[in-house]
Structure formats: C-alpha cells, structure tokens
Amino acid sequence: MSGGRWLGYAARRLAMAVPILLGVVLFTFVLMRLLPGDPAVFFASSPNPSQAELLALRAKLGLDRSLPEQLAIYVRDLARGELGQSLTTGQPVARDLLARLPASIELTVVAFLLAMAVALPLGVAAATRPNSWLDHLARVVITAGVSVPTFVTGIVLIYLFYYLLGWAPDPTGRIDVFIGQPPRVTGLLLIDSLLNRNPERFLAALKQLALPAATMALFAIAPIARMTRASMLGVLSSDFVRTARALGLPRRQVLLTYAFRNALIPVVTTLGMVLSYMLGANVLVEKVFAWPGIGSYALDAIVVSDYAPVQGFVLAVSALFVFLNLAVDLIYGLIDPRIGFER
C-alpha cells in the first residue's frame, strides 16, 4: 500500500464529508428552532419581561428575521470559522468548545482504552472456551452493559465508591480544587501533570477520572466484547485456523497471530462505532460527574435554548464522527491486505 494512495483516499473522503456536515448543520438548526423555548425569555433581565423588551432582545439576537435568513447568516459565519456566541457564557462558542474539549477527550479516551483492555481479552477468552465460567461472565457483563443506562451506572458507582466506601473523591470536576490544575499544555490533565513532573497532581486527576471513566467503559465493554466473541468464534472454526493447527503451530500463535488478527477486522468497525457513541454518551456522564467537558456544556445550553453552543457541539461531534470513520477505514487497510484504496 503506497502512501500516496492513502493520502488521495483520505482527501476524497474528507471532501465527501462536506455535504454530510452541511446536512448536519441544517438539521440541528431546524431542530433547535422546533424545540419549545424562547431564548429571549431566558435571557431577559427580569422574570417578567415586557413585550417591548422581548422584541428588542429578539432583534438584537437576530431572531426577528425569517428562518432562511437566520440560516443564511449562520452558514456565512460558519464559513468564516465562527460558531457564534454563547448567551450563557458570553464567549464565542469556538473558544468555549476548545477550552472544554480536552476534558471530554481525556475522559473518552481513557474510558475507551479501559473498555478495550477489558473487552478484547474477555471476548477472546469467552470464544476460546465456550460455555466455561468465563463465557458466562462475559454474557452477564454484556447483558448488564447493554441494559443499564450510563447515568444509572454513574450514580450507582458514586453511591458505592464515594458515599459508602469513601474510596473515590468528590464526584465534581477533573481535579481536587485544593491541588489545582497543572500548567496547561495539552489540556489533558494526566499528560500535563506528567509534563509538569507532578505525581501528586497526576494521582489527583487519575482519582477524579476513575469513576466517570469506569462508567463510560462499562457502557462500551458490552458491544466490543460481544463483537470480539462472535468474530473469534467465526474465525476459530474457519479453514485456515484448522490448517494452522494441522501444521502444528503453537497454540498461542494460532490464537493471536492467526485467529485474533483476522477476528479484529469486524471488531475495528465496532470500536469506531463505540468511540463515536461515547462522544454522545459523554453528555450524561459529564452531567452526573460535573465534568467540565463539551457534553455538559451542550446540555446546559439546550436547557436554556442557547442555540449557538448546541449547534456548535453537534457540528464538532459530527466532524469527529467523520474523522473516526475515516480512521477506521484506513486501519482496515493496515490489517487487511485485501482492501485497496482505488478510485
């Protein structure tokens, strides 16, 4: 596989993302305006604003114009790279999102790695020993993970580890306020505290991260483990694994190099989807743990009909979706030589 073909493929895929993102913009824009709630009422200075004040506010916010006009203005601003202004924070939405994105990324990535570290071995073990206790354990974990919503898991974990056992710190924010944040380099506290050579801060951030990350991971383990198990079972009964056994390859090599690498192909699809879902699931988990990420930011904005942050959030998550899907397709090419990137 030559690098040039990869780049060409990636460029074409990114170009294809433009109409998708435009569709997302249109959809969110219309949806936000269909939802009940009037921003002017929320942001009026008094609880009982006069009609004149509301009209003035609407005019100031541009809400007195027709919907197509508002949309045209919004798209024009987007083309200039402006996501609009948040009425709640008074800041440009782009700045708010950038400031909060590292918190969400740190939470999502750590939860994702945790989920993979548990789900992949669990799926493989369940597939290699069908109907063993490990297989049954996998089934229980998968069923629980599918059926329990994240905010319930989060609250149960808080109740257990914070309230009852007292092992976890207050479930509020990313780091103990008395310890304080490390100097910002990447915005990822675990990395920044290491760059700062401050193990105390690293530990504090890790402790704070443990429960929300575990909550998200529990949600992600189910689909990954289930797909790994199913895919491994399929591959283990395939002809080439039988060949590998007939040729006397060591069991470890048969399982890992021959079976698992082949089984990974559909698992990678699932990993991409799970990571995408996690970006959405963030909204509730961040709320439960008062995590200052983009999810809780969007949720707060929805409640007060603050259009620009919600639209900005959906657009940002959609863009991440597009990138993730592209990454998944490129990873396919690495794993499976049969996949080419021809025009």
Partner: protein, 324 residues
C-alpha cells in the same frame, strides 16, 4: 524405525458426534493400514466418514466427537492414548495435512512466505533469515514460478492451483512421514487437478512419504493410488490393491461406484448412479451392514450381524456376507 510394520494402522475405530439432533454414528469399526511410502486412496460419497477419519488421526476433531473404541497406531505410538502435547508435536512434523478449497485453508491476511516461516520455526530452531531462504526453496520445490516474489504474495493474489501448491509446501516443510490429502483437487480445474496430483505423487516418491488420499473420485484414486479403501456410511466396505479393486470389485457398493464412474469412451447412458442414499446416521435402527438398504443382494443374514472386513484374496478385504 522398523520397516516391517505399517506406518499408520487404524483398527476398529468407532466414533459418534453428540448433537442436539441425536447421536450421529459417524464411524463404525473403521480399519486400514498404510505402509511407508505408500499412497492409499480412501474413496466414498460425501458423508461417508473419510474426512472424519482423517481428523481423528490428526486429533483435530470437533468437541462434539466421541471416540467409542478402536486403535490408531502411528509408528507404534498409540495416538488415542497419547497425551495432547505429544500429538501436537507430531502435527506438521511427522503427520501433515492438506485440504480442499486451498484459498480458504491459508491465512488470508498473511503473506504465504510468512506462513511458511511460521511452520518452519514452530518445529525447528531456525533464525528468520534461514527460515526465509528455506521457505523460498520450498516454494520452488512445489514448482511455484518466481518464488522470491511469491514469498510476499497473499492468498487472494494467487490462483487456486498456486494456493494448493503453497499449501503443499506448508505441509511438507518439515518432511512428514505421512501426508493426509483431504480432497486436495476439489474445486480446481481438470488440468490443474492433474498437475497437483502429479506433484503430490512425485514429491511423495522422492521423499518416501506415505499419502492418505481422500477423494470421492474413484477414477482419480485409480490413477494415482497403490491401494484403495472404499468407505460407505462410516464403514470400510472394501480394501484392495488398486488394479485388483478396479478389475474385480467384490462389494456391491464398489461395483456401483465403478458403474457410476465415467471412463474415456463411455457414453452418458452407460453411467449409472448408485441407487438410494446414505442412511441417516442418527437412526437408532441402523442395519448392521449400512449398505443393506441400498443393496440388490440383501438377504436375511445381512440384517443379523455386521459383516466383518475379511480377507477374501491376498490383500483384498471385503465387508459383505455375500462376497464369496
């Protein structure tokens, strides 16, 4: 090892599959022997138990299989009693196997050269460079053109015939004494089929390697094998040197198979299918001779006791009460 005894001897091998649909009595007292360097054809319809017999020798049976009795001896080693590690050490080293549908039998996402290196290094203390040059030599040995370039090829980049050649290279990498070839030419076109069979025969002769050739094609077995064992519904019904079996078949099933085999010059009207179908092997009331219900010569004694595979002439064994 002694040249006197057979390389592989099966006797009285019975095997069931325990499934939700009931017990499938897949093998019933299967027995035959292969001498060193010999090519034995095992011929029968699909479902006659040929492949299951091979998997039993390789210890590659699925978990649902239950061995009911019998012996498997390889160079005097009792394969059914040996521990799994001992058997694993034999596989790929002393006994090896090739399969039908060679493209699916190879790892689709690993270059064939790497797969060869894997096998070589699994059985021999070799560094990577030595294994690679040996792998290239093996590809040349199975007459794959341009072996150096083909080392990097993935199975999907090779034709079916080339995949089977690569598979043969894998199986022969460690110079096994016995090769089990399970329908190795099914799915290949006729010219490729002949080329693969010629290659197998030549390599076996050059190395003194015994071959257990499993096929449903009696004519093909007739062209290449020293001896042929005919299987029907999990029973060996006849076993004889090839020329003798083709000229003087004693079992009615063998006769039926021969009548169903097209020969050069035979007209379509002369080819007759074997009547009836294999009995359902989950049945409780399987007749002792499993061919009885398809047999034109069935007599009351056929339903009394299973016919033993008895030698009726030197080297010619038949399992039929009516074969004098």
């Amino acid at each position: 090892m002694s040249a006197a005894g057979p390389l592989l001897a099966l006797s009285g091998l019975s095997l069931d599959f325990v499934t939700r649909g009931g017990r499938v009595r897949a093998l019933d007292r299967v027995g035959f022997e292969i001498a060193q360097g010999e090519m034995l054809g095992v011929v029968g319809e699909s479902g006659s138990g040929k492949s299951v017999t091979a998997y039993a020798v390789m210890d590659l049976l699925e978990p649902a299989a239950r061995i009911g009795g019998g012996r498997l001896d390889f160079r005097g080693l009792d394969l059914l009693g040996a521990d799994r590690a001992r058997l694993a050490a034999l596989r790929g080293q002393a006994i090896s196997m090739i399969f039908q549908n060679p493209r699916a039998a190879l790892n689709p996402i690993r270059p064939v050269g790497r797969q060869l290196v894997d096998v070589l290094r699994a059985h021999r203390p070799m560094n990577r460079a030595a294994a690679e040059s040996e792998a290239e030599r093996l590809l040349a040995m199975v007459r794959i053109p341009d072996p150096a370039r083909r080392m990097m090829a993935y199975p999907f980049e090779l034709s079916g015939g080339l995949c089977q050649r690569a598979m043969i290279a894998l199986a022969l990498a460690c110079q096994p004494a016995l090769l089990i070839a399970d329908e190795p030419t099914t799915g290949l076109d006729v010219t490729t089929q002949a080329a693969i069979m010629d290659l197998l025969r030549d390599l076996a002769r050059a190395r003194g390697m015994a071959t257990l050739f499993i096929t449903h094609d009696l004519a093909l077995a007739g062209d290449y094998c020293d001896r042929i064992a005919v299987m029907h519904a999990g029973q060996v019904v006849e076993c004889a040197p090839t020329a003798r079996l083709l000229a003087e078949p004693r079992h009615p099933y063998t006769r039926g198979l021969l009548a169903a085999t097209p020969r050069s010059g035979s007209r379509i009207g002369e080819i007759a299918a074997v009547g009836g179908a294999l009995p359902d092997l989950t049945r409780e009331d399987l007749p002792p001779c499993r061919y009885a219900e398809r047999c034109e010569r069935r007599r009351p004694e056929c339903d009394a006791a299973p016919p033993p595979l008895a030698e009726r002439a030197p080297g010619h064994a038949v399992a039929c009460w009516r074969a004098a």
